[in-house]
Chain length 429, copies 2
């Protein structure tokens, strides 16, 4: 039992590590592999879409592990699974919540989401086995339909849990294959009784693979995620005039393709030159008529702007709008803009971020404060509780792909940092 | 009968206009409309692909008009139709050759090609009716398959005639619908007996709509075409790396789409900044995977470079190659280039160009020396005889489209300049 009431510990500022605990890495890695074996097709490809039979099988495995670890299982009405450990009954005291999701994209890797859920369970199980007595409950969550492949929107379980989407609306959602979410939830046996949001967390910490190249590239094992980028998606359509590529002098052209290229280089060069962590991507483009010897009459492209700062994101949007306005005049083209998606940035809890950094240092490792460029359940839960994320390196930044990979050493380091942070959060007032 | 032996005329330098002749504009315009009515579908759209039934019907009309004008008809083995007028039998003396083509693209206008053939016939008929006695024969040609829509390559009849493509190869060509050219030629009754190239022209003059906006934009009615651009077509494929648009920092990207945009702006800006008449177009592009939130792994684009000067065209090709080489390094991408087509520029005959300018001035009009950005039969015949082209304005530069339009005034002005130039060439030694 750790000397959590030792006054000398209380006096130390910041993180208190009462005992050099470590997770059971063999158990954690074995569960990751076992969960990753569920939902394979005959070619060995992993696809475990939300509320599919494969998802049910994975949920059943998880619930069995939670029970075996001595935790109470609770399922809410959107199918989020909770494993709860605490001397005090939930509701009477707010728990430290860990978690992520176990649904996958098509042809997925085994780490995205599953790592956060299984590490959360592992942390609780390690603490429990070590005789640690937390001052508040500790729970692990597997949120429903984070990937959003079969049912939109993504991060649905955490969004409904945090009150950002009506339960009834979510349950009525139709999948790409015509199934209704509520019916699928009942079919697989995970339409739970608990009200969504029944347990307001004291804090939420999500451990996740980075899904980007920053940590590996910098040789740093732990990311202390301090914010999550806001996203601005726009579709830009440019109307020029089709004309003969040979007979139309340069000065008389209304070239929609050239205008598109100008936009592409503008957004890229501006993000590149910025000292901030915003990014800009043009991922898709189409020309019409798209013939080698015809000046494009029409070009359509998408712009994906992301920024951890709302003011910064708005600045980028405004700069693009001003550029498009100038381009309409200088390029003699008409430009139409359609907003496809817009989310505000999320700033995580400064105290938890500090705890992550301190825990990492105490483990003799280096942490890097960073921004999450991808969406996570943490961004939804952040609206109801102090939240932060811990990242571990993704090899080559690859994710949503069978080549998704984090070394065992990296996975264990992340779980141990989560262990320390959880212990502190569950113990502190 | 014009005073062509009048010594006072002989003394004047340059063009001699012996009599203020003018073409029969009513007849010319009526024939243009009549030819343009052949090959209409039930929606009224004009499509008269080479060696189709519609082409046969148009050829039959043309041959009837040639015979009615008192000219001898000759068909060669590639189906080129000639209408020949001359006191001296062809072969003994080289004719002044006028002409163009009467096949069309799909959903075409009525002027492209047909104008040059019918104006050539009109010029001969006018001269004959006026009692003009030329010193050498005058002939009009309708070359087979200029458009190249059904059978490749385009400008085939003139290319075979000038010896640039073997007759047997051309006859064996298969169409997009599987037909063999030689069989189609026999089927429609235009597999003639004359050897290709049987009549080497003294000079060749092709009157054509501009198919570009230069004349209309400058308010000048006649173009004296002094050269025809060389064409360089390349397909450029860029290999970068697909990555998450949110989680991949700008500095760690290998963005094939951005590299494509850099190429697009490079070729455009370079052509725009050049004082010369070269043009550059990126008409088609494709990204892979072409998703809004994925950095493009691959981008493919085409580059169409045209220049009236071979050295200039090579300079543009070299500048592009150097840019691509730098881009491979700076953008951390691999670039593959495929040459799709390459033709050298053609320089037309200076003396005929002078005649066109002088004839235009004598008609009280202005001529502009210019470059042809499109391919024409003239570029093939230029390899066997002194050649030049006369352009008339195309409204908005539109061609290969039902909206193709040149005013009657413009058409008549062009035909009268052709008349004067022909008269001079047929008369001079």
């Amino acid at each position: 039992m750790p000397p959590r009431s030792d006054p000398s510990c209380r006096k130390r500022p910041g993180l208190k590590i009462m005992k050099p605990l470590s997770v059971n890495s063999t158990r954690l890695l074995a569960r990751l592999q076992e969960l990753g074996s569920i939902g394979r097709d005959t070619n060995g490809r992993l696809t475990r879409l939300a509320l599919s039979d494969a998802d049910r099988q994975a949920r059943d495995h998880l619930v069995a592990w939670i029970r075996a670890a001595g935790l109470e299982v609770a399922i809410d009405r959107i199918g989020n699974i909770f494993g709860i450990w605490g001397g005090n009954k939930y509701g009477s005291q707010q728990p430290v919540l860990l978690g992520s999701h176990i649904d996958t994209v098509m042809n997925a890797g085994i780490y995205d989401g599953c790592y956060g859920v299984l590490a959360g369970l592992e942390v609780i199980q390690t603490l429990r086995e070590a005789g640690f007595v937390p001052e508040r409950p500790i729970a692990v969550a597997a949120f429903t339909n984070e990937e959003g492949v079969r049912f939109a929107p993504d991060m649905m379980g955490s969004l409904v849990y945090a009150g950002g989407l009506e339960l009834e609306t979510a349950l009525a959602t139709r999948s790409t294959d015509g199934a209704v979410l509520g019916q699928e939830l009942a079919r697989i046996g995970y339409a739970g009784d608990h009200a969504v949001g029944f347990m307001r967390p004291h804090a939420y910490v999500e451990l996740h693979i980075e899904q980007g190249p920053v940590l590996e590239h910098s040789g740093i094992p732990i990311g202390a995620v301090e914010d999550l980028q806001g996203i601005s998606w726009q579709r830009i359509m440019i109307e020029g005039q089709a004309n003969h590529a040979g007979t139309t002098p340069m000065a008389l052209r209304r070239d929609a393709g050239y205008a598109a290229a100008r936009i592409m280089t503008f957004v890229h060069d501006r993000a590149m030159a910025s000292k901030l962590s915003g990014v800009a991507t043009v991922g898709s483009v189409a020309f019409e008529p798209n013939a080698i010897n015809v000046i494009p009459a029409r070009a359509t492209l998408t712009v994906d702007l992301r920024n951890p700062n709302e003011t910064g994101l708005q600045e980028e949007e405004n700069a693009l709008a001003a550029f498009l306005s100038d381009l309409e005049t200088s390029g003699d083209v008409k430009i139409h803009v359609e907003i496809l998606a817009r989310s505000r940035p999320v700033t995580f809890d400064a105290r938890i971020i500090d705890l992550i950094e301190e825990a990492t240092l105490k483990r003799g490792l280096t942490a890097r404060r960073m921004t999450s460029g991808a969406g996570h359940d943490a961004q939804m839960i952040a609206s109801m509780a102090p939240t932060a994320m811990i990242f571990v390196p993704s090899h080559k930044g690859i994710s949503h792909n069978p080549a998704e990979f984090t070394s065992n050493e990296g996975l264990i380091a992340g779980a141990n940092v989560l262990l320390d942070v959880t212990q502190h959060l569950a113990d502190a007032s």
